[in-house]
């Protein structure tokens, strides 16, 4: 349940940068009269009247087609504009976080919570999400430095939360793995039956006794 809440939180926080400035009024970063988002940037002119002009929605910043500031694009850092194309990681991170949230929802609600393979796959998906969260934050900080808005700083929080979610998922994988080992299913416990059922004319007298496996308790909280 904690996992589900955390993963949903991460997914929601990844939505904010993606729907920033040209789409809505959420600002990924503010510098002088300029506001920046993932899909573009806007200029707010104040002198004649308050007037907001934005670029087209696309990845990577381009010069704004205006007469006033047409040739200028101010970035808070010394970075080149081409680095703004790396903002695409926000979208990748959002997709990844949605997939992870769905998987964790399935783990919580459905029977997939008992399968170690499914939990392993979701744990493996959580690793790139951690990487992309950190990557998003690094790109933001590289482009906008200290002028970063709250959606950008949320990425840093997401990175920490994702590290926690990752470790929780791996711990869950261990727990489920141990549980499935201790309560081995019939086919795993009696591997003979699988073969014996496939043969029609089976001699009942040659049925083998099932293996006596030692059931032991293993350490769960080693790491």
């Amino acid at each position: 349940m904690v996992l589900l809440i955390l993963s949903l939180g991460v997914a929601v926080t990844h939505v904010f940068p993606v729907i920033s400035v040209p789409v809505t009024h959420i600002k990924l970063a503010t510098f002088m009269d300029f506001t920046y988002g993932v899909f573009g940037w806007c200029y707010t002119s104040r002198h004649p009247a308050e007037f907001v002009q934005c670029t087209k929605r696309r990845i990577g910043y381009k010069y704004l087609d205006t007469n006033f500031y047409g040739e200028i694009l101010y970035l808070p850092s010394e970075s080149k504009y081409s680095i703004s194309r790396l903002l695409v990681v926000h979208i990748i991170a959002l997709i990844n976080s949605i997939i992870l949230a769905i998987m964790i929802f399935m783990i919580t609600v459905t029977k997939h919570g008992d399968s170690p393979q499914f939990i392993l796959s979701s744990a493996l998906i959580s690793l790139p999400l951690f990487v992309f969260s950190l990557f998003s934050f690094l790109v933001d900080i590289l482009l906008f430095a200290t002028h970063l808005g709250w959606p950008g700083w949320l990425m840093l929080a997401d990175t920490v939360v994702m590290a926690f979610v990752c470790s929780l998922l791996w711990a869950l994988r261990r727990t489920v793995s141990i549980r499935s080992y201790e309560t081995l299913r019939e086919t795993e416990r009696y591997p003979m039956q699988h073969y014996q059922h496939s043969v029609q004319d089976i001699d009942e007298s040659v049925m083998l006794e099932p293996l006596d496996e030692p059931i032991s308790t293993y350490k769960t909280d080693n790491h």
Partner: protein, 487 residues
């Protein structure tokens, strides 16, 4: 007239002095501030070289190859390559500065920065050393996680990340070297790659740091047990956070960005070796605790989940019993004894292909005799699939790779147990005696089998054991003798 220039009462022209003062008061990379001069670069470069050299010497002095043979060897190789790289670069750089001074009469940092970007030797050796050290970091992480599946995941993820990041790093660098122009000055897609790779490397370093910090948090009771280990743990945390820290410093100051590659090399060597040394000391405490506990080393469920050998045995057993039942149902295609014999031959012989072909021939004959070819073919197929002993069939590459990896892990676990035993004996104070003990043991064995004194000749008594009856007989004989004498 004797005297120096100072004796002449002359000053610079005022506009020049003003201009100069303005020039040195600017605080950016284009100014003439001491911070952006050549001397801090030389000092930092030399310091890097000395640190890396010292760490390499320490690596070769303190690291044993076993049990973690890949980790130790990759670390040794990586640090050696890094040291050689820095030594060559330092020599070339001094030569470059000398030529520059002789030609221009000044020392500028432009050529120095250009040297690091466009020198093919530096780039190639840096690429190799960074890649090897990242692999070594992966092996160290594998050592920290004891479960088989987690080790596999760490190995796959770590090595692939190392390959990707280094290849992406090398491509623009070689592009620069070949075209002789910095990628940053071009206005195409190339300029996107260096910052991407830079951040990618930072992310890898941050992941490494977070995994180690998580490990420290989990093992906090052991990590802070003694004062020495506490200091080493804190040092480990600092060293591991150095690389991500440089990113922050890079944002703050342009100066570091130019030299980030140099710092990177030292940081990689440092954060690999220090973590290794810390783990070594931590493992001694762990092994001691495990030795004191009842059960010893923890065993995990995935070490036993495969039951490879047991499954194989069961399959063979099952095949035998099934074959018997098939024989009893189908009216005497083979006799049971022949069947079992054939099965044993097929199963036990390592070159069982001949046996199998014989069997196939005989079965095909029986098919021709029998009127139900489909069912017999099915049986044949089933039998064959069960009869498939692993060494008879050609395995796929993935199987071989999987098995090799499993064997590697098993070796690692085995040697870790072994080294744990050795460390245990060492910590008990008997480590130095181990060689004398083994020598004594060898001498004992030699003595036992009679190889210790080969030159000496012994005369063995032919009668070792004296039975009472013999004694009685002798007594009787003596008695008879005496009696005869008496008579």
């Amino acid at each position: 007239m004797t005297g120096t220039l100072y004796d002449i009462p002359a000053t610079y022209w005022d506009p020049i002095v003003k201009d100069w003062n303005r020039f040195i008061s600017l605080d950016d990379s284009q100014s003439c501030s001491f911070r952006y001069g050549i001397f801090p670069m030389i000092i930092s470069f030399t310091t890097n070289f000395i640190i890396t050299f010292t760490l390499t010497v320490l690596v070769f002095l303190s690291m044993n190859d076993k049990p973690y043979i890949y980790a130790s060897r990759s670390l040794k190789l990586g640090s050696l390559v890094a040291t050689i790289n820095l030594a060559i670069s330092l020599t070339n750089l001094i030569n470059l500065l000398k030529k520059q001074y002789e030609k221009l009469g000044m020392l500028g940092r432009f050529y120095m920065v250009q040297f690091f970007e466009l020198n093919a030797t530096f780039v190639a050796l840096d690429f190799i050393s960074t890649f090897i050290l990242q692999c070594s970091q992966t092996f160290i992480l594998m050592r920290m996680f004891e479960r088989k599946k987690e080790k596999q995941v760490i190995f796959a993820v770590g090595i692939s990340l190392a390959i990707i990041s280094n290849l992406l790093w090398a491509v623009p660098r070689y592009h620069e070297i070949i075209h002789g122009i910095s990628v940053k000055n071009e206005n195409d897609n190339w300029e996107l790659l260096p910052p991407f790779v830079y951040m990618f490397k930072i992310i890898i370093a941050a992941s490494y740091a977070s995994l180690i910090i998580k490990f420290i948090v989990n093992k906090r009771h052991q990590c802070f047990k003694t004062a020495q280990l506490t200091l080493l743990t804190i040092f480990t945390i600092i060293v591991v956070l150095l690389l991500p820290g440089f990113f922050v410093a890079d944002l703050a100051s342009f100066w570091i960005y130019e030299l980030s590659e140099l710092f990177n090399t030292t940081c990689y060597v440092g954060c690999t070796f220090v973590v290794w040394e810390w783990l070594e000391r931590l493992s001694i405490i762990q092994k001691r605790q495990q030795a004191q506990s009842i059960l010893g080393r923890a065993i995990y469920e995935d070490e036993q989940q495969n039951y490879t050998f047991a499954k194989y045995t069961l399959k063979v057993q099952d095949a035998l019993t099934r074959k018997e039942s098939v024989c009893s149902s189908s009216t005497s295609v083979f006799t049971r004894s022949e069947d079992v014999l054939e099965k044993l031959v097929a199963g036990l012989d390592s070159n069982a292909t001949t046996a199998k072909t014989i069997k196939l021939n005989s079965i095909s004959q029986s098919v021709s005799d029998n009127d139900d070819p489909i069912s017999t073919n099915d049986e044949l197929h089933e039998l064959q699939s069960i009869n498939r002993v692993q060494f008879n069939t050609e395995r796929s590459y993935t199987d071989i790779l999987h098995e090799t990896f499993d064997n590697t892990i098993n070796h690692v676990v085995y040697f870790s147990d072994k080294i744990g035993k050795n460390i245990g004996s060492y910590s008990m104070g008997s480590g130095s005696k181990s060689s004398t003990n083994s020598r004594r043991g060898k001498e004992q064995v030699k003595k036992r089998i009679g190889l210790d004194m080969t030159n000496k000749v012994y005369v063995y008594s032919t009668k070792d054991v004296q039975f009472d009856s013999d004694v009685d007989d002798e007594d009787d004989d003596n008695n008879e003798d005496t009696s005869t004498r008496d008579v």
